[in-house]
């Protein structure tokens, strides 16, 4: 399996990861139409313009050198990773699978991501840090669980738009905040969901988990919850007094 060649890349997504997202969309109502119009003519890019990357503190890396084929005789120098699934290049990580969600589906997912994690005074909305394109990355991956999630997400997108049109005569992305909430309140907690909403609740739960993973692994998300680790330092200090006080450990 891991000796298989890399999947051919058919959609230009062979870019360094870390670059976060498609056009950062904050779907205010007046923007929704513009995004829809633009989306019809633009491919969904997984890469990030250099300027946007810098703004997020990530620098797009040069493409990794091509991995040596597995059959190449060693030269005495460490050959390094072969670029297979079982031996990927860890320093220049890339995904190599084509993205499956359509532009229209991405519009719905973008709206849903921002309902789940909107901007507040502490941090931006999910779409501003690339969560929608992470959802696409996840459901497009060639693994069994991900393929099942693709079906669930696709079906969920179809359902939520049908439900939106049924209740409010518009697609989900074009609803008001209150209208979106009316639908999401029915599907946000599986144990409380009515039988007719259970499948939708599972879809919502999945997108919520994916959005949280995407958001909280970015700098903005880590800063929001106060993750302050991964810093090289000469010594590891005991917990600060305020922490010990709260835990009754003084």
């Amino acid at each position: 399996m891991s000796d298989a060649p890399e999947l051919p890349n058919t959609d230009g997504t062979d870019t360094p990861i870390g670059a976060d997202e498609s056009a950062p969309v904050t779907l205010k109502r007046r923007d929704a139409l513009r995004v829809l119009a633009a989306a019809a003519t633009l491919p969904v890019l997984d890469g990030l313009a250099a300027g946007e990357a810098e703004a997020q503190g990530t620098t797009p890396r040069p493409a990794a050198p091509a991995a040596a084929p597995a059959t190449q005789a060693p030269t005495g120098v460490t050959p390094g990773p072969r670029g297979t699934l079982a031996d990927p290049d860890l320093l220049y990580p890339r995904t190599n699978w084509p993205r499956r969600l359509t532009t229209a589906e991405m519009v719905t997912i973008t709206a849903l991501c921002d309902v789940i994690i909107p901007a507040d005074e502490k941090s931006p909305a999910a779409s501003a840090v690339g969560a929608p394109s992470y959802v696409n990355e996840h459901v497009s991956a060639p693994y069994d669980g991900n393929q099942r999630d693709l079906v669930r997400v696709r079906g969920g997108i179809a359902w939520i738009n049908l439900e939106s049109r049924k209740r409010f005569s518009r697609d989900f992305a074009r609803l008001t905040a209150a209208q979106k909430t009316a639908i999401c309140d029915d599907i946000c907690h599986l144990p409380n969901a009515k039988p007719e909403f259970r499948a939708a609740a599972r879809f919502f739960d999945l997108v919520r988990d994916l959005t949280a993973t995407a958001f909280y692994t970015t700098d903005a998300g880590m800063k929001d919850i106060g993750y302050v680790g991964n810093v090289a330092m000469p010594k590891f200090d005991p917990p600060p007094p305020a922490v010990l006080r709260q835990l009754g450990l003084e």
Partner: protein
């Protein structure tokens, strides 16, 4: 082909690009992980010409370790997948529960999983680095409770090797001296790191429960090794060893408390064979390493003496043979048994070194069970760095020895507790399941709840002793070969009630600790231990397939890992274990390998072998 070693300036490093160049060595070492790396190092500093055969690819942690790479830079935010089950950045190459083209099978009714790595340094590149000594009871378990078998050596026999191994690789820990939990000699261990908040909280909760919480021992350096004095202490009469070890020690940095150990360590702060044993071994000029060399069999002459090994060069798919005066097997407990069982001759129709019929028998793993908790007092803690050494700073050694001996527990052997939690780096799956605590929060409320709950979860894992049994073993599957044409292993597995009851006891104990901290369980406590226990092989501590002993009829090797049947054949990996104490095996593999090498050198000197 000779190239400069990238991480040891001025040292010539030899990787044979043309293995045909030399076909005779003093010693062939099969495997380059803990047992093989230690053997290669000890024999090379003693002046022997050593060939190391490694089934995986060459690997250089200094160049390849993804230090400081973030989950968001990896596919799927670093999540594990079939070819990299422990996550994208995990330092395992061509390994996992499955190795492409190299299957293994399970007998009907068995559900055993075999973790392998196909890379220089093997599993030492990604291991947990928990380094606990076996204690006095652990060497004589049968004497104590009548079960299993005794080791042919005592704790006192191995203690000096534990000391030297800990000094050599760098281990942090405390100086507690508890029952069957021995302390190291003065000046051997490095200082334990300061406990984290969750560790102090657990310690407080465990006080009334009478469970000791003490500094853990991990093979991670909290300060730089003293390259001017330690090598002389470790190798008193060996100038070559002192020189190459001092040089290697100067190449190692102390831990800088960032980036996960499981990804490997390019600054060489923690123990990996590839950063700590192989560089000084190569620096002697006495070692050649051939990677991508899949060993098929040990060859013997008509007198039953080992003559060398046959291996497949994976790059060219050609069969090769190399000769040596001594063969050392350290391919991992299961792979070593496989090689022996596949080494058939007229004198040894059941495999070389198998006159006892015990090769492959008494396979053991570690008993594992876990439980998590959500601890309200940890909610909304002030932000602070809890990364530390990435592994545990504290742990709980087994504490109920007397109750157990009195028969009060219903299972015969103990376990230690590994635990953790805190404000660690978010990765794939972060905040999954939060809806359970928040009644399905989304929107701004989700963000508030995430801030509240972040860092308030803790996990507890038991790691317990399994007693060897007749139903847990590996043999050769007569119907299956791997892509190299080598017959594969078939596993047979059964837990006894000693293990399943122990697993149930683990979960009950974890629930008590979590509740004592005021926490709520995140999982179920199983009263039926067979539902709590991890699958065979899942803890990746498989040992015992070529047990050592005092009697050639009931053991495969003597106390030095020397084959009873083939005097110039040694085993220095986990295969020789007679029991599998709750203490993680790597430190003992290293110490026993060193002791084996001393005996091997002694035997060569006396002309008993070679």
């Amino acid at each position: 082909m000779i190239v400069a070693h990238p991480s040891l300036p001025g040292v010539r490093r030899v990787f044979l690009s043309n293995p045909k160049a030399q076909t005779e060595y003093d010693v062939i070492v099969v495997g380059s992980g803990a047992g093989g790396g230690m053997a290669a190092y000890q024999l090379a500093v003693a002046g022997l010409k050593v060939l190391v055969l490694e089934a995986g690819r060459n690997y250089d942690p200094v160049r390849e370790t993804p230090m400081f790479k973030l989950p968001r830079e990896a596919p799927l935010r670093g999540a594990g997948y079939r070819e990299k089950p422990f996550g994208f950045y995990d330092a395992t190459v061509d390994g996992g529960w499955e190795v492409p083209g190299e299957p293994y099978t399970n007998a009907p009714g068995t559900d055993f999983r075999w973790w392998r790595a196909r890379m220089l340094g093997g599993r030492t590149n990604h291991w947990g680095r928990i380094s606990l000594r076996m204690g006095e009871y652990d060497f004589k378990p049968k004497t104590r409770d009548g079960l299993g078998a005794d080791w042919p050596l005592t704790y006192q026999d191995l203690a000096p090797y534990y000391d030297r191994t800990e000094m050599l690789i760098g281990v942090y820990g405390g100086d507690d001296d508890l029952e069957n939990t021995p302390r190291s000699s003065p000046g051997v261990l490095q200082p334990a790191p300061a406990p984290r908040a969750v560790e102090l909280l657990a310690k407080k909760a465990c006080g009334p429960l009478k469970i000791p919480v003490i500094p853990a021992h991990l093979a991670i350096m909290t300060k730089r090794q003293d390259a001017n004095t330690l090598p002389k202490r470790i190798h008193p009469d060996n100038p070559l060893a002192q020189r190459v070890l001092a040089q290697s020690m100067r190449e190692r940095q102390a831990c800088f408390w960032a980036t996960p150990c499981g990804n490997g360590c390019s600054i060489k702060a923690n123990f990996q064979s590839t950063t700590v044993l192989l560089p000084p071994a190569l620096a002697t000029g006495n070692v050649d390493i051939v990677p991508d060399a899949m060993v098929r069999e040990v060859t013997v002459d008509r007198t039953g003496k080992a003559t060398g090994v046959s291996y497949i060069d994976k790059r060219t798919r050609t069969d090769r043979h190399v000769k040596a005066r001594v063969v050392v097997l350290a391919a991992s407990a299961a792979e070593t048994a496989r090689i022996l069982l596949n080494s058939k001759s007229e004198q040894a129709p059941n495999g070389v070194s198998n006159s006892s019929g015990l090769v492959g028998k008494y396979l053991m793993d570690t008993v594992g069970a876990g439980l998590g908790g959500q601890i309200p007092i940890l909610e909304n803690l002030p932000p602070h760095n809890t990364d530390g050494a990435s592994g545990m700073h504290m742990y709980m050694p087994w504490w109920l020895y007397q109750e157990q001996l009195a028969g009060k527990l219903g299972f015969a052997r103990g376990y230690h507790i590994e635990f953790g939690g805190g404000r660690s780096m978010p990765g794939n799956g972060t905040f999954s399941g939060l809806e359970t605590y928040t009644q399905g929060a989304y929107g701004k409320r989700l963000k508030e709840e995430a801030r509240r709950y972040y860092g308030s979860f803790m996990w507890f894992d038991g790691r317990g002793e399994m007693i060897p049994n007749e139903d847990s073993y590996c043999d050769i599957d007569p119907d299956t070969v791997d892509q190299w044409g080598i017959p594969v292993l078939r596993f047979h597995w059964k837990w006894s009630e000693h293990e399943t009851r122990q697993a149930a006891h683990m979960q009950k104990t974890f629930a008590e600790i979590i509740e004592a901290m005021g926490g709520k369980l995140t999982g179920r406590v199983e009263t039926d231990g067979s539902r709590a226990i991890a699958r065979g092989g899942q803890i990746i501590h498989e040992v015992g397939t070529c047990r050592m002993g005092d009697d050639p009829r009931t053991s495969v090797v003597n106390q030095y890992g020397q084959s009873w049947d083939v005097k110039n054949l040694f085993i220095t990996d986990g295969a020789t274990f007679v029991s599998n104490a709750d203490k993680n095996p790597t430190l003992s593999i290293l110490a026993l390998a060193w002791r084996s090498c001393d005996h091997l050198l002694d035997e060569l000197q006396k002309r008993n072998i070679g």
